[in-house]
């Protein structure tokens, strides 16, 4: 083993690694294309006013400038094949980076020349004089071309250099860059929090008057975050998770308990110090967590791909509206969504029962279908429900396109929880989310939950194990429906008026994306997914933290989904089971390299006094090659 390693090292060491020109070419041209694409969809022009570092760096330009750095970094990466020594870093990485950057700049300059020469505004609205003006800095195309080529080249050189420097330096640099970017981008929320804490002085110093960090504050923030980067040990998130799996159950339990305690404390105390904006965001996140958890049972646990999930959200909202709005023919003045009297609970009960009926009604005919067929049919049902609410035929009850307005707010006794009082609203939603989390958590480790998992893994076999698959699937479907209807009820009480257009297919898709990005079948995953997508990017109609990106939201969703599926298919915070499913090979390989057997969540081997395997019983991963 050592002998072969040394030999290969000897044979490659003297000859410097040649630059991989085809790769450089590929990423260089891709870089130019990406930059042109970003400019063409209007990001540069739309985000130009939003300053990151006042006055010289705008978010618009930043959407272009990261490209050469990132692509050059990728182009400079040489993947070592298994068993061969790691590639030697040095000039070749710098050269690759530089050339990749230069190529990107060259392509992009070409793009600028084209949009300057031809008027393409008929085809691409954004490719007009305004963009040219921005990209040429008002100094003519020739000057711009030189600047872009040289600039990209330098940025590419930085990308390549990041490859060469020791990992610590790389961590510090990236941490500082992310820190500056994050602090600048989250200006609104940071200001909001500092107002809640009465430390406006800090934000006054931090941010320039016309938005963005000042040059000095940017440097300070960079240094602070750089120091933070110095502290991390450089393990990736996946590595951390995999390491966590090998901890003893008691340690794991203690850690989870601490994390849960911190989360609960944060949920209780954070809204008090946050301003209205942040609470509004959190309330929206809560609504989507509620729906995400419901869909997580249907898709994540039971494996039923339901694309019409929004139907149940709509049922919950419309039921509430019909019962409480004075504009509805079924209005009963006594009934208000007051959770300190029986009326509120009666409404909740009716909402849940309606959702369950809707779940059974939609579920029963489709539940025998599998996989893609189920997805298509539920998609259809979701649209049917929306169109029924929209129809003229049922307009006397549901108000057609006008929807139902004047829905009174929820209340706790005499205290009214107005939709505009986002702090109170947040607490109300958080209470329901807590119930949903409890229900999901209890069901996971129960007879019902096991039956769902079995169903997802192999339906035929589940049936052979005595599981009534039809009943099991319907239970999952109805449980999911009930969660969504609760969200619908809260939504109606929060916004005060509902329209069929609030219940479009897009909502179903976004909830599904939350579940996928967060991690299928994982409760913390759904929460993180909702925070990232709804809180940071924004929901279908709700603005997120990054309001600037509002019009590019769906594009970013899509890009995020693609990147996630390629790089981290198990989601941001996957369930143990999914992680196992998708990282099985890696883990067994690591175990093999370390000379231990691969196990998860068990007691470490040495505590067991060695293995007890005999010939054939050793796990397959323990094989000899």
């Amino acid at each position: 083993m050592t002998d072969t390693l040394e030999r290969t090292a000897d044979s490659t060491a003297p000859s410097p690694n040649p630059v991989d020109w085809s790769k450089v070419q590929k990423w260089g041209s891709l870089g130019g294309l990406t930059m042109s694409f970003i400019a063409a969809i209007g990001m540069v022009t739309a985000l130009d006013k939003r300053l990151i570092i006042s006055p010289w760096l705008s978010l618009g330009f930043l959407t272009l400038l990261w490209v050469p750095v990132a692509y050059a970094y990728i182009a400079a990466t040489e993947k070592g094949t298994d068993g061969s020594p790691p590639p030697i870093k040095g000039t070749r990485d710098l050269v690759s980076g530089l050339v990749t950057g230069l190529l990107s700049g060259l392509f992009f300059s070409f793009f600028i020349v084209i949009i300057d020469t031809f008027d393409l505004t008929d085809i691409f609205r954004n490719l007009g004089p305004k963009l040219v003006e921005l990209l040429t800095f008002g100094r003519g195309v020739g000057f711009a071309a030189v600047v872009w080529i040289v600039g990209s080249g330098l940025l590419g050189l930085i990308g390549g250099a990041l490859k060469v420097v020791p990992p610590t330096v790389r961590r510090v640099v990236s941490s500082a860059a992310m820190g500056v970017f994050g602090v600048a981008l989250l200006e609104l929320i940071v200001t909001d929090i500092s107002q809640g804490l009465h430390i406006e002085l800090v934000t006054d110093w931090l941010y320039a008057i016309n938005g963005g960090l000042t040059t000095i504050s940017a440097i300070v923030v960079a240094i602070l975050f750089g120091l933070l980067g110095l502290r991390s040990d450089g393990r990736t998130l996946t590595q951390r998770r995999l390491d966590r799996m090998n901890l003893a159950p008691q340690v794991l339990f203690r850690r989870n308990a601490i994390a849960a305690a911190i989360t609960i404390a944060a949920v209780i105390f954070l809204p008090m110090i946050l301003g209205g904006l942040a609470n509004e965001l959190l309330a929206n996140v809560g609504l989507f967590i509620l729906m995400g958890l419901g869909l997580n049972i249907v898709v994540g646990s039971a494996g039923l791909l339901d694309l019409g999930y929004v139907a149940f959200f709509a049922v919950g909202a419309y039921t509430t509206a019909i019962l409480t709005s004075p504009l509805s023919p079924y209005w009963t003045p006594e009934l208000t969504l007051n959770f300190l009297s029986w009326e509120g609970w009666l409404i909740l009960a009716i909402v849940l029962i309606m959702a369950a009926i809707a779940g059974l009604f939609i579920g029963t005919p489709v539940i025998k279908l599998r996989g893609d067929y189920l997805a298509i049919v539920t998609l259809g049902f979701g649209e049917i429900v929306r169109i029924l609410f929209l129809s003229d035929w049922l307009a006397p009850y549901f108000g057609g396109a006008q929807g139902i307005t004047n829905i009174p707010s929820a209340a706790l006794g005499p205290v009214e929880i107005k939709g505009t009082n986002s702090q109170a609203m947040f607490y109300l939603i958080a209470a329901f989310v807590a119930i949903a989390i409890y229900v999901s958590w209890r069901l996971q480790k129960s007879r019902t939950g096991r039956a769902w998992t079995a169903l997802r893994e192999d339906e035929d076999v589940a049936e052979a194990m005595g599981i009534n698959t039809t009943a099991s699937k319907l239970t999952a479907f109805v449980t999911g429906a009930v969660f969504a209807s609760m969200a619908g009820m809260l939504f109606a009480a929060k916004v005060g008026s509902i329209f069929p257009s609030s219940f479009k297919l897009l909502v179903s898709i976004i909830i599904l994306v939350i579940v996928i990005v967060g991690g299928m079948g994982s409760i913390p995953g759904v929460i993180i997914g909702a925070v990232v997508l709804i809180g940071i990017l924004g929901g279908p109609t709700q603005p997120g933290l990054l309001q600037e990106f509002g019009q590019f939201k769906l594009l970013i969703y899509g890009a995020l989904l693609v990147v996630m599926m390629l790089k981290r298919p198990e989601g941001l915070w996957p369930s143990l089971r999914r992680q196992r499913e998708l990282h099985h090979d890696e883990m067994s390989q690591d175990a093999w390299l370390q000379g231990t057997s691969y196990q998860t969540g068990g007691v470490p081997e040495d505590e067991q006094g060695g293995t007890r395997y005999t010939d054939d019983t050793a796990p397959i991963t323990d094989g000899d090659g």
Binding site: A464, T475, T479, S588, G601, V603, P619, I620, T621
Partner: protein
């Protein structure tokens, strides 16, 4: 009364006659092997008995109850468990969960009990786990110890087969149908499993029907052998009788050439 009474069982898929008027019975406490060349209808027979296929004609009586046309899960509940020819575990559930899930039809707690964490729910969960561990310990060292909380996918091939049998046992059946339990095992493991099949009957009191290609296993464990070919029963009896039956030899080896060169 025989435990399983198969009466004129017939099933065809398009033009293929998978089962053709199959008639035989299995008594309580027997170990019966069903053998036959590939495509003889052995697995179709299992699938029809366990409710995956509804028979075109005929019926299956289990303890006197007509079970043909019932759903598979109902049949499992009545007391027939099975394993699959190409091992089908729940790969990402743990070893223990695989067995625990099999007790679904023997337990009752629904969502409400689970959410309220009632005393009966907790008792039942504890019982399920205890039963599962009990079943696993039947396999002695082979499925022993801390590997129970590993995903089933890390088990060796032979252990997967064992786990499948454990899972079938956990449904608390009277009759176990094993579909090629020794396929892909080495001789040592095969011998071990042969003993185990006998124990299933002797210690646990199950009636066992197995489909098997390994003739040594068939010879060693079977009280009776049923030979199928083209969906029909061509012979029945103890191993010695059956193995000398000309029809059986023909089904396996083909008809001897009529004009041979002397």
């Amino acid at each position: 009364m025989p435990m399983l009474n198969i009466q004129h069982l017939t099933k065809s898929f398009g033009g293929v006659q998978a089962l053709n008027g199959l008639d035989f019975h299995i008594d309580k406490g027997e170990i019966v092997s069903v053998i036959g060349p590939n495509g003889a209808g052995k697995t179709s027979f299992f699938n029809t008995v366990t409710g995956y296929f509804a028979p075109d004609e005929g019926q299956v009586l289990f303890n006197g109850i007509n079970i043909s046309g019932h759903e598979p899960h109902e049949i499992t509940e009545l007391g027939i468990a099975r394993t699959f020819q190409n091992v089908r575990l729940f790969p990402d559930m743990t070893v223990l969960e695989n067995v625990m899930v099999a007790q679904h039809c023997r337990t009752t707690t629904g969502i409400v009990g689970t959410l309220l964490n009632t005393r009966s729910f907790r008792r039942e969960e504890a019982q399920i786990e205890a039963n599962a561990k009990d079943v696993l310990s039947f396999f002695g060292q082979r499925l022993q110890g801390y590997r129970w909380d590993q995903p089933a996918s890390v088990l060796s091939y032979a252990n997967r087969r064992r786990l499948e049998i454990a899972r079938a046992m956990a449904t608390e059946p009277e009759l176990i149908l094993l579909d090629e339990p020794t396929a892909g095992m080495n001789p040592k493991e095969t011998a071990e499993l042969t003993d185990l099949i006998r124990q299933l009957r002797d210690d646990k009191g199950y009636t066992v029907v197995l489909i098997e290609h390994e003739m040594r296993v068939v010879r060693d464990v079977s009280d009776r052998v049923v030979v199928l070919d083209h969906g029909e029963k061509i012979a029945e009896g103890d191993f010695e009788t059956v193995s000398h039956n000309p029809d059986v030899i023909e089904a396996y080896l083909g008809r001897p050439a009529e004009h041979t060169d002397e």
